[in-house]
Symmetry: C3
Subunit: 350 residues, 3 copies
């Protein structure tokens, strides 16, 4: 793009502070920006970088005295910036509409209008794919699956048989949906496999990260609720039920049959034991290990996880611990001295 | 299926309590079951759900007064339920017998009778595949590999050159077997790669989870012992030796050259340092970090991991810690008061 | 190989201690070695295995009295052993030079001399691939990417559009480069996706492990610096900047916009929060969770991570904790006794 600050402000419905005629030709973060780049200040963490930015202009939520460049004041700089990126940024080049000749499509497969099936894609018998679906090369969709409209599956995804995706589901490369649950019973010294004949149901507007794994139910359904977003390398075990609009950050692991409410946030590398219930809007901080159910709006931390405030108090006590031990040693000396002076033989032997 | 409680009891060799004529048409968990569904009670955790179940009948280990539905009493309800699922549940639809025309099979490859090689599968030169093997679409098997009979490899699996799988090995989608170990030596400020020319040997009846990664040995063998089951996203580094009948739960990581005995259980997200020995039947609880070897039947917990009981005592002390600090503060006040009353100047300065 | 100890010593420029005529026919570790195998002693951890080794000869850094076999004394046994493996060990059998007929190559793709494009590989429009590149079967390279010379991509790798790899980059099977970052803004109760239009730049001599995931930047670049080595199942989030010659061990996770200096080591399963700065040569020990920036050469440990020595002192105090509580209880008894004898009513009520 090669436009002026005034052009951008007009497009965003923002107010210009400074020279509106400044030419813009790119976008970048505050610290990386060169003259001619448009940048933005959303996260207050970055305000420290504002005075030194070389950006040609900056999107801000309110006029700032410490901004060396022209400013465009908008209600939500982060949102406005995304809008600009979508409008002026690079567009994805999806596989062409239709079915690539190298794709292998099974019998009785129905594919909706406008769908794009890439090279080397394999689709199993009887699967139904909605309109405008985009499936990138070498992805494998098992038999008897259903995909809603506008689904986007990137390369090398594995969707196993009979699983169901809603509308507008996005799956990043290498993700696996419908793998067998980890269910074995020890019989005569051997781990005998419990058949895993259930499915995975992924509701509308879910996004699933790269190399994330969602196991099919032993029987019944492993469910990912509408609008939930799952990051890379997350593990969701069999019969887990994830509510709507949850955030599962990278490398989270959820053991079998645990149920999450809506708007639950699990930060990175969190582990949840099996058969738990995590209430609506609960939050688990990074690396925590949850072995008990969490009430709605609960915030837990630590491994094993506890109420957030209790966990923080514990961490403070832990930092003091070497000093606390020293204080106890000194108390023992002082009391022994007092006992000696009082001729006491009365100290209980440890 | 559409059969009666009596039919099921006869099939399982179980005893009916209640109306044996009740019709059954599906299967489900106690809480999800609708009238006409057969359910089961195995895990005592679920007994609380029994009185309210809407199931048409329930498999139980012993007759229960609080079951609202007809009961079928069997020795092992979990096992019986699996048997029913296998018999009446949906059957997998594997790729057709033979080699799909789109598969690419190298020179001097031997494929056993009844094998099913799916679309887009690539098999390298000189690889030998046993009878009845099933290989799902787009899986890549390197050259010089051997697979035993009845192996089942799902989609997008990567098995690198010269690795060996025994009989009845199951590999879930996206798993990687035989990737290079992480071995580098710092030479002149550069991490110089140590060649990784060993292999992976996976013995009979092993199952490997989705996106699990098992590195080949630097030289020699990385071994997964017979009957061991590995869950999704597990990392097994080079030259690790895993015994027989172990359970490695999701997201476990094992560093190089560590040896596990037989019947070892590593719970979810456990990490093991390198060059350790974990004894037969040892157990490591979830998220633990093990930096020392563990004796046979040892149970360890925490990061760094300790004996289970010691670790629990530590966790209890940790919960008390803020209160313990307060008790120490009060002791200091009380002893200062005594020292004052005794005219002592003798308190050692901290 | 079937050569003598003298032959090997001559090849390595080493000094023979013992019978130089001993025949060697294989290589193995000290504990696995059979007569005729050449082994080596590099890691002192293994010295305990030396007296009992059955090896036909051993590479050592200095002559040892406790070695039962002929010795070859070399400056760096580990390095010398790698050299032998590279020279005499099995050679990789890469796909043939040229483009396999089943590969699908888009328009305006440029592929360098000597490149090997395997079966089922898909390369998107306008991508440029350097000389002698090796791409294993079923790997997918998006459009507009650039790969330098001598890159090696194993099977089922996913490299998304517009990402750039330098020279000699190695990518293990199943890795994903350029997946969307995990960026969402809650708007009206829905997680609205922030467009992720940046790229990933992987510099020269980087290695990326199996099923590792490196997200593209929201805008700008997610960078992996020259010579950095990334192990399996590592997560690198959007806009992370990793310096040169870092080591990221298996299952590490790095949250968005965090910056690593050069020669940083992150041990297994470490998690880093977002927006941090980790200084040059800093080290984070296994399973640590880092929530604050780390200075150059800093060593941190624990979750939350602290200075290494402080964290160890804390762990010691933690092990003493049950005993410390008991000491406090005894102090309370002893002081109460003293207060009683002094007729004190003066104990402050808790």
């Amino acid at each position: 793009m090669r436009i002026t600050v005034d052009d951008v402000a007009r497009f965003l419905g923002g107010r210009v502070v400074g020279d509106g005629g400044t030419l813009l030709s790119g976008i970048a973060g505050l610290t990386e920006a060169k003259p001619g780049d448009l940048s933005f200040l959303a996260n207050p963490k970055y305000a420290v970088h504002l005075p030194a930015t070389k950006a040609g202009a900056v999107l801000v939520a309110e006029e700032r005295a410490d901004c060396p460049a022209p400013q465009i004041v908008v209600a939500n700089p982060d949102h406005a910036f995304s809008l600009l990126i979508e409008t002026f940024g690079p567009k994805p080049v999806h596989p062409a509409i239709g079915i690539h000749p190298s794709a292998v499509v099974g019998e009785r497969v129905a594919i909706g209008a406008g769908a794009r099936i890439g090279a080397g894609v394999v689709i199993g018998e009887g699967t139904v794919i909605g309109a405008n679906a985009v499936i990138y090369p070498n992805t494998v969709v098992g038999g008897g699956c259903t995909l809603g409209d506008d689904c986007l599956l990137y390369a090398n995804v594995s969707l196993r048989e009979r699983c169901r995706l809603g509308h507008r589901v996005v799956v990043q490369p290498g993700a696996v949906i419908g793998s067998d649950g980890f269910g074995f019973v020890l019989v005569g010294g051997r781990h005998q496999k419990s058949p895993q004949v259930g499915i995975v149901v992924v509701e509308d507007d879910v996004e699933i990260g790269a190399c994330a794994c969602i196991d099919r139910a032993r029987f019944g359904v492993t469910r990912i609720g509408a609008g939930t977003k799952i990051d890379n390398l997350v593990q969701v075990a069999h019969n887990v039920d994830v509510g709507s609009h949850c955030l599962l950050v990278a490398q989270v692991g959820i053991a079998g049959s645990t149920r999450l409410g809506n708007y639950v946030t699990l930060a990175g590398q969190v582990g949840l034991a099996g058969h738990l219930t995590i209430g609506d809007q609960a939050t688990v901080t990074a690396q925590s290990g949850v072995s008990k159910s969490v009430p709605p709006k609960g915030v837990v931390r630590g491994s094993p996880a506890r109420d957030y405030r209790a966990a923080l108090a514990q961490e403070v006590g832990l930092r003091h611990l070497p000093r606390t031990e020293e204080r106890v040693r000194q108390l023992e000396q002082r009391i022994a001295e007092l006992e000696r002076r009082l001729g006491s033989g009365g100290a209980p032997t440890p």
